[in-house]
Symmetry: C2
Subunit: 215 residues, 2 copies
């Protein structure tokens, strides 16, 4: 695999996990020294990350870890709602039986993990649930776009408090979505998924607004 790809993944990981924080400067030379490569593949990696919106390139000023304002986050969740709603609508019409089983299994996993106290395990089960829906829509491009935006919002989701009450509501919403897709009711699937995402967005925006003094 190309070095720049490896560097891209490493940098992405460092940003997502919070090693680099929003607003941090990403100096090419320092990164080159740290990863023991030249500036060329570093620059390539930074440009790729810029295209996904994870870093911001300022002309002749360098690269910075992008920081989303309150408004930015709300905006992205609105787009996420549109994309994921469309995934649900298409999935309700097109989902295969195999995918249907996977979706039900993913939902069951969410329920099981929620009953445990392991917040991370629930987080990943929830992520899996949504990824199954992305794939179930049978539109590769749509699934890619949804996954990309989902990933872009990941560092912000990790900030979120695991409110137990929200988890219970979330599971109920998941059940409704599974039912709608199973029934082939594309309108209901779309509406429920859209609301599910927008609620998450509002919760997260509130949380960010209370912490993000930089914005």
């Amino acid at each position: 695999m190309r070095r720049a790809q490896v560097l891209r993944d490493a940098l992405e990981q460092d940003i997502v996990t919070g090693k680099f924080r929003p607003g941090d400067r990403l100096d090419e030379q320092s990164l080159a020294a740290r990863f023991e490569v030249s500036r060329t593949p570093i620059r390539e990696a930074l440009m790729q990350l810029a295209s996904t919106g994870l870093v911001e390139l300022q002309a002749r000023r360098g690269a910075f870890v992008a920081s989303l304002s309150f408004k930015d986050v709300v905006e992205r969740f609105e787009v996420m709602a549109a994309l994921e709603g469309m995934c649900g609508a298409l999935a309700a019409r097109r989902i295969t039986e195999a995918m249907q089983r996977e979706l039900e299994k993913a939902h069951e996993d969410c329920v099981r993990e929620a009953s445990q106290e392991n917040a991370d395990a629930y987080y990943y089960a929830n992520e899996r649930f949504h990824h199954v829906i992305y794939e179930a829509c049978q539109n590769i491009f749509l699934a890619e776009q949804a996954q990309q935006l989902h990933a872009r919002l990941k560092p912000y989701r990790r900030l979120q408090l695991r409110a137990r009450s929200r988890v219970a509501n979330s599971l109920a919403e998941h059940q409704g979505i599974v039912d709608a897709i199973h029934a082939g009711d594309s309108d209901r699937a779309e509406r429920l998924l859209r609301e599910h995402i927008l609620i998450q967005g509002e919760r997260l925006a509130d949380f960010i607004a209370s912490f993000d003094r930089a914005a």
Copy 2:
């Protein structure tokens, strides 16, 4: 402005206008010689174009003008429908009076140009109409995503025959959309815009399917 940016625009123009055709190889050296720069900014420009999906980078194989298959086009129009539908829904709730006037003016321009025989002028008036809707949604990120995908599909739209009957229908649809947004009916605006885009996608996909023997 950075050279790479200029090169990016120039290459994009050449691809969109059909100077380079889907599947064409984009040799770094040739491009560097043609634009009288080194390979470095050429590579940067190609990577940026790859991030928008206009060119495809194959590892150790080079860059090629991306060619969308029948399925690819249909998929992108489905996403376009979701994004533009959301734009319409939000615009119906949030549009300013100034934007409302711009939208009506853009629609009137479409009607006027349609009555003339200048296909290009109608094409640009139509483009303007959709761009106003993107901006009217008051979600900058959503507007950017919609514009980017719109631009990505541009070279394929240019292939399309200007069927007069389709233009008449299109104008009627535009009128319905303007009315729905004006009435603040977000559900109707979303549904009408979505259908408007999906119809275009189907038309275009039929056309491409009859020509694109490579796919």
